[in-house]
Amino acid sequence: MLRFLVRRTLGAVVILLFISAFTFFLFFAIPHDPALLSCGKNCTPDNLKIIHHNLGLDHPVPVQYYHYMVRIFTGHRFTAGNCPAPCFGYSFANSEPVWPTLMDRLPTTLSLAVGGMAVFLLIGLGTGMIAAWKRGTMIDKIFSSASLVLSSLQIYFVGPIVLALLVYNNHILDQPKYVPFTDNPVAWFNGLLIPWCVLSIIFTANYTRMARSTMIEQLQEEHVRTAAAKGMSSRYVFFRYAWRGSLIPIVTILGIDLGSLLGGAMITEWTFQLAGLGRLALDSVTKTDLPMLMGVMLFSAALIVLFNIIVDAAYAFIDPRVRLS
């Protein structure tokens, strides 16, 4: 297990290096001069040159990349302001370092993504298993066709409708907002309930279908039949034998879906005006605040890589064949 974690962490570092380099060079591929932003109205070429020097833009791009990476660990004092380690750059548009802003926005996005995941895993896997258990019956048909319809509902379509129906017109639920969990857990839950549900609709529908089909597949497995041949009850066979086997494909898909979950969380933030990383990324694009954008991208990538390591570690808990080899 330890060797596994060490190996995966090293792999993650390499992946993040690639992503950071890619993002950094993309930064310079855009026909835009960051120095213009701090130069003001009467910008003389001399002023621009000074700003270029202050920002380190007069160095070649690889050297700038090297500086960027080193400053993550050492911090750096920009002329515009101080950026202590971990320094992911300095946002000239906001006049503050990138990292504290990221940390400020992270809890919203994390609450949204993890809560949404909990919702679609609970409901999706639950209904999928019920459909598999009752396959061929009316319940199965209802769940299956409902999941087909729901899997085509986009967040930015459902979100405003839900807001209009449940919040503005009928006042059944609170206006979505983010209250830190540590401040008030109940308000945290109420504020995020609508975003969670809206974010997880498509996922729920897909996981219903996936859980149903993998369960039905598992029920055909020979070892599941053996368990039945031993006289174990159908409930035991279903929940102990078939369910255990169907976890593997579900966890695999979950690992792949984490990226789109984070993407979905960002769209949800935009839909419900929640101040998370997604909003931050969009705002940075409109303000051409490239250091901030770069920070968000790198940080999101790191989050996805981290979640994937957790998912891979989960395999070992599910399948002893992975554990021992």
């Binding site: 020979e222 053996t226 041949a229 031993k230 399948d319």
Partner: protein, 353 residues
């Protein structure tokens, strides 16, 4: 349960007295292509402590028959008619709860491929103990002790350590032993072994068969041994039943079937079996053609399209009239007893060497 009218020509054997008695068993699957007659009017008996070998090609209905005995067929797509009586208890109409109580306790099954038939997610010990804990109502600790005892009985070295291993940590032969231990953990009266040695090395095959024989002597179980290998059954079984296209075509003791087989299909099976003593240049004589589709089996004798002796019967009887399998020793073939004997002695036996 639906009742089906049974064809006139089917002989009804004597009233069931045996430990396991199967009477006029019909198993039909509805598939998208139509109805598959997987088992078509099968009858046999089995006494306690005896071994019945069921021989036939793939798709002849051997495995389906035995899954039906255990009630493991899919009830939604399968139609079962006929009688299966185990120790005086009717099984075909029995509730799922009744069958669950019998499975693993009074009747148990050993499957062909122990790698896929054992769950990769639980330890061997847990899988062996499960039916014991359930049927005997003992604690998990007692179940584990019993699992160790059973592993020792089937010849696994260091059973106290191996009980916590997962199936993939066992070799093929050891897995099959573990599967036997699992099947025998409650001392079942009926043990169905579905090609228990097919996936194993030849040397391990003999060990497994010996083990089954020893355990049978110890527990007095009745065994049904399903195989396509006449060599395997002839060493272990008392009686043989040859199946073709869902029907029994020949029945008799092992001696009778090996030394004076009567049915052209049995001749074919014997002819396609390699023999150690025969010359390497001597070609095997496989049965021509392929097993018939069970969606639309040939009319009359299902074997007639592949049979080389239909001319001897003449009059197109083979393709028109379904031959009857008599009670006891006999075969379902239109050849007369005299013809069967002379054809076997004159043409078949010399070829077998």
């Amino acid at each position: 349960m639906t009742t089906m009218t049974k064809p006139e020509e089917d002989a009804v054997p004597a009233a069931p007295e045996a430990f396991l008695s199967v009477r006029d068993l019909y198993v039909r699957f509805s598939t998208e292509d139509g109805i598959v007659k997987a088992v078509d009017g099968l009858s046999f008996d089995l006494e306690r402590g005896k071994t019945l070998g069921i021989v036939g090609e793939s798709g002849s209905g051997k495995s389906v028959t035995n899954l039906t005995v255990l009630g493991l067929h899919n009830p939604r797509t399968t139609e079962v008619a006929g009688e299966i009586v185990l120790d005086g208890q009717e099984l075909t109409g029995a509730s799922n709860r009744t069958l669950e109580r019998l499975r693993g306790d009074k009747m148990a099954m050993i499957f062909q491929d122990s790698l896929t038939a054992l769950s990769p997610y639980y330890t061997v010990g847990r899988q062996i103990a499960e039916p014991y804990v359930k049927h005997r109502g003992v604690s998990k600790r007692e179940g584990r002790a019993r699992a160790i005892e059973m592993l020792e009985k089937v010849g696994i070295p260091q059973p106290k350590l191996r009980v916590d291993d997962y199936p993939h940590q066992f070799s093929g032969g050891m897995r099959q032993r573990a599967m036997i231990a699992m099947a025998l953990v409650c001392n079942p009266d009926l043990l169905i072994a579905d090609e228990p040695t097919t996936a194993l090395d030849v040397t391990v095959q003999a060990q497994i068969l010996d083990l089954l024989k020893d355990l049978q002597q110890e527990f007095g179980s009745a065994i049904i041994l399903i195989t396509h290998d006449l060599g395997v059954v002839s060493n272990v079984a008392d009686d043989l039943l040859v199946m073709y296209a869902g029907k029994a075509v020949e029945r008799g003791s092992v001696r009778e079937l090996i030394h004076e087989p009567q049915h052209p299909y049995t001749w074919g099976l014997l002819g396609s079996m390699p023999r150690l003593m025969s010359d390497v240049t001597e070609p095997l004589t496989p049965i021509p053609g392929a097993p018939p589709s069970l969606l639309s089996p040939p009319p009359g004798c299902a074997f007639h399209p592949r049979c080389g002796f239909t001319d001897l019967v003449g009059g197109g009887r083979c393709s028109a009239e379904r031959p009857v399998l008599p009670d006891g020793r006999g075969s379902a073939c239109h050849l007369t007893d005299e013809q069967k004997r002379s054809v076997f002695i004159e043409t078949i036996q010399p070829r077998l060497g």
